[in-house]
Structure formats: C-alpha cells, structure tokens
Amino acid sequence: MKILVIEDDAETAAYVANGLKEHGHTVDLAATGRDGLFLAAGEPYDLLIVDRMLPELDGVSIVKTLRGGEVSIPILFLTALGGVDDRVTGLNAGGDDYLVKPFAFSELLARVNALARRPPMGNVETVLHVADLELDLIKRTVTRSGQTIDLQPREFRLLEYLMRHAGEVVTRTMLLEHVWDFHFDPHTNVVETHVSRLRAKVDKPFEVPLIQTVRGAGYSLQEPRDPR
C-alpha cells in the first residue's frame, strides 16, 4: 500500500514510517500541513495518516479540503488531542478513524489494515463467510458446518465485526469502540470475557479454531496458518 504520513514530529514520523515499511508498505512523509495537502491532492495514495496539530495548515483543515474536493481515500487521524470533543471534530471533518498518541504500533497497524480493506460504499453484503462459518445479517443467524449457533445480540455483533475484518488483526480497542461503543479503556477484561464466550460457542464444538489471539495486539478471525 502507498501511505502518506503527515506528521511534524520527526521521531513519531520515523517510528510510523519505519514500522509501516517493515510491513511492506510504501511510505511518503510530509512535515507540514501545506506539503501534506499538496502531496495528498497530487498523488494516488491508498491511505492518509494525519496529525491534528501541524505547522502551516492543521490536520482537520487538510481533511476538510480533501473531502471537499471529493477525495475519498481512507484517512486516519493520529493525534495527541485525545478529548471526546477532539475525536468528534476529527471524525466530523471527514476522518475515518482516530488514534490517540501515545499508541502501540500494533494498534496503528491493525487500524491501517482495517481501513485499507474497508469495502467501498454501496457494497452491501448480507451474508458473511469465513471458512465454514456463515453469518446472515438479515436473518440474524450464525451457522458453522451447517450447525446453527445460538448467539446473544452482543456476541453476534462481536462476531460480525471479526468476520468483516477476517484475516486482519483486530485490537481490543477497536472491538471496544465498534462493538460496545466504549471510547475508553475499561479496567476489567470486557473484551476477553466476551471473546472467550464467543469461542466457547463458535470454536469449541468444532475441530478448527477460527478466533485466534494475536499476542500483544488483539484477535484475528481466520483459519490457523498451520492446520494440524
């Protein structure tokens, strides 16, 4: 993927750029808002990572300008401004996701991957498939190998999110935000508890586990890399 990082702090920029390059992405850097906007408007990027506070032109203005020009590439805000209002402002301006500094690189990577594979608007899938697991969004049913699995509404949403991002790493924070609407980190293990219950229903009765734990990052729904 070709990613543009607009970030004025050299250390953070290098940290992000090097990490993304290690994972096989092409990264361009812009240190000021004006340069960033110029590059973003001219080059075909797959994803933009934008700092909120930038010299010359701030991140929100860049995003507004791009969205005003009908540029629809996914944009991730990366910022030290972590207040509730700040996030709302960022998302309203046209950002697709919002990550507050300091952040774990695994978190950034998971979100970058999730954004990049976001299906284009208008594409309506009503049945999600991963291996022999099937989730019907309309009938609200889940089956695996033809066997019906009975899920609580919250478990259904959790599974739906995992399936929509099948093959990607989904972090605890992403799950908290999208499944529970918690934009903060609870002290108790809400995610672990529900994932373990979901596992008991989706994986335990079957031979191949689909919900994988990615150490230090989160979860991923996929067939194990090395099937026994």
Partner: protein, 452 residues
Amino acid sequence: MRLVETARSAPVRYALVFAALAALITGFLLGLIYGRITTLLERHLEEAIEAQLAVLRDDLAQDGRESLIGLVRKHADRHAASRVHLLLQDESGRVLASDLPAVDATAGWQDIELPPRPDSENGRKRKLRALGARLDEDLFVLVTHDTSDTEQTQALLIRSFALALLVITALALIGGFVIGTVLLRRVEDVNRTARAIMDGDLSRRIPVVQRADELGGIAESLNRMLARIEDLMDNLRHVTSNIAHDLRSPLGRHRQRLETARLKPRSPGEYETAIDTAIADTDAILKTFDAMLRIAQIEARSPRDRFVTVSLSDICENVADAFAAVAEDDGKRLVASIEPDVALDGDRELLMQLLVNLVENALRHTPRGTTISIRLERPGGRPRLTVDDDGPGIPADERDRVFRRFYRLDASRTTPGSGLGLSFVSAVVKLHDATISLEDNLPGLRVVIVFG
C-alpha cells in the same frame, strides 16, 4: 487599608443623611400640626367674640339702648383686666361706653393694637381681635378679645416642637452613626478575614453575627465559598503528594526491571519478555496520566457544551450487557432494572464511562458471591441512576473522601486501579448538573446519581 480610612468618615456620612432625613420628616409633620392648632385656636376666639356680640344684640333687643350702655359700662369698670373689651359709640363717633379708645366704626373683623398696659411687665403692645357691628342707626359696637392666650399657646407649641425636632435629629444622628459604625465594622470583619486568608491562613472564617439579615447572609455565603476553596486546596495538596506516590512507585519498579534485565547477558527471548513487561509498565503509567487528563478536560469544559439528548436507558442496557458476563466470570452477579426511554441532555460517552467506572468499582472492591445491581428509574420525572452492591461497603467517614483524586481506602491500596475512578465520576456528575451520594446499602455501598 482604604476601608479603615473611610471608616472614619462613612459613619459620619450615614449620621448626617439620617439626621437630615429625620429633621425633614419631623419638621414637616410638626409644621402641619402647628398650622392646624393655630387655625383651631383662632376659630375658637372668633366664636367667642361672635357669642359675645349675640349677647349684646339680645340685650339691646330686650332692654333697650340705656340698658346696653349700662351693661357695657359695668363691664368696662369691673373687668378692666378682662380679655374681652367692649366699645360702644354713636353715629358721630362719640364713645358711649368703653375701656377702649375710639375707633373707626367699621363693621366686620379687624386686628387692633393697643399700647401696653401701664402695669404690664414686658411692655408689649396688646393685640386684639375685633368684630365691629352696627346694632341700630345710631349704635355701633366693637367686641374685642385679647389674643395673648393664642399667642402664648403658639409660642409654647413652637418651643416644644423645636425641642422635639432637636431631640429627634440628635437621635437620628447618633443612630445613623451607630448603624454606620456597626455595618462598617462587619464589612471590616470580612475584609480582615480576606486579608488573613490572602496571607495563607485558609482556615479563617468571617464571624457570623446574625443570620437573619443580608450581611449575615453574605458572610455565610462567603464562608461556604471559603470552605469550598479550602477543600479544593486541600484536594490539590493531596493530589500532588498522591501523584508523586502513585506514579513514583510504578516508575521505580519499571526502572528496577530494566536494570535487572541489563545486569547480565540474556537470551533474545528473555529480552523480549523484559521489553514486553517494560511496555506494559509504561502503558499502565500512561493510563493514569490519560485518566488525569480526561478529568482535567471535563472540569475545564463549559457545562452543557455540546450536550445532546442521550438515552440513559440505552447506556445502562449497554453497560449491563457488557459487564454481566464479566461479573459472572468473577463469581459475582450483575442485575439490572432499567426503566425504558429515560433520556436527558448530556454527553453519551462520558455518561457511559461514568456507569462503567461505577460498575467496575463495585466489581473490584467486593468479594465473590456479591450481587451488583444497576437501577434506572424516573421518580418525579428526574432520572435516578443507582449502582449498589452487597459487599463490604465504605465506612461513613470515608465516603466524602473517595471522590478525591488518587484517594484510596487503605483496604484497597493493593487492588489494581488508579484511584481516579470516582474522581472522574464526580467530574461527570458535576458537568451534568447532577448530584451524587454514597449511601449504606445495608450491607454494601449504594451510589445514587440524580439528574436535574
């Protein structure tokens, strides 16, 4: 300092204003009374004169001219010192009978001045009120009455009224001065207290003299404000030392672990573990900072800024649903009784975190087998959110303090948590103009939040 200077003149100013006002009112009142009494006295005099004239007329009509002349003469002889003097004269102006000199025979009311009596002590001219009347073609009578009685009464009135005016004005002067002095002394009390507080003595309070009046009210309000400020300052001191303590120990631990890892050569796997631990340690510290920042942001926000209508019922359902499983895995029970469609103006995200904090707090500080309950009701139209448990509870004297930043009960020093959970709750409650109270659930703790 300025106040001390004006204290010298301000009571005087009060006194002068009071006195002037009192003098004005009293003067007006007494003047009115004086006028009325004078009029009354004069009318009495004239009535007496008219009565006398009627007697003379009657006498003339019954007994004839000579009898009348005799009567008047007799009166003049016998009553030289009387207040009533009569004059009878004929058409040519000849005095027929009188102790008065001849006058113009004009009918009607007139005032006459006579030279002082030879035996008079003060030598004042005598003033007479006179009524002249023609009894027949050749007989003119003048009935006069000495006005000295009226004048004496008037003089007496003026003297007593002047005295009254003087006394009232003097009293007003003193009263104004005393009130001014007392008022200013109380204002000066406030000022002195303020100075003492500025000098660092935060425990000082304004003496409350009297609760009923406005100044007493101001003193009480100021005292309450001072108590709040002292509380905040206390809180701040507390926070500073607690930040030092609560952040110093994990940082110290963090450093120790890094140092241990560095002591001798290790395998890449061991280094990896050491680094992971270091990252986890740092994350925990960052989390504490985040929590502090969040609270500071909420407190800095202008109330009701960006509030929208949010469904408290939805929030409760969401949290109850998310934590029921967590509680169960922990050997506890989370039950919810949520009235549907309870909405209010607020911040959805903050309210959600508020409830999560309360539930997590209950989960963290209670033993297995505890039942935690979330209740949302709307008694009297005001949303009331209750989170209670049947755990060990909080001692009554500690309940106020748990809202302080980093405050932790001794019993919970060892359990995980930043000590910021309830401070956050309290900040969100304040932002929403709600009230929070901690009560005894007999047994356990009950947290009640009532929204406006």
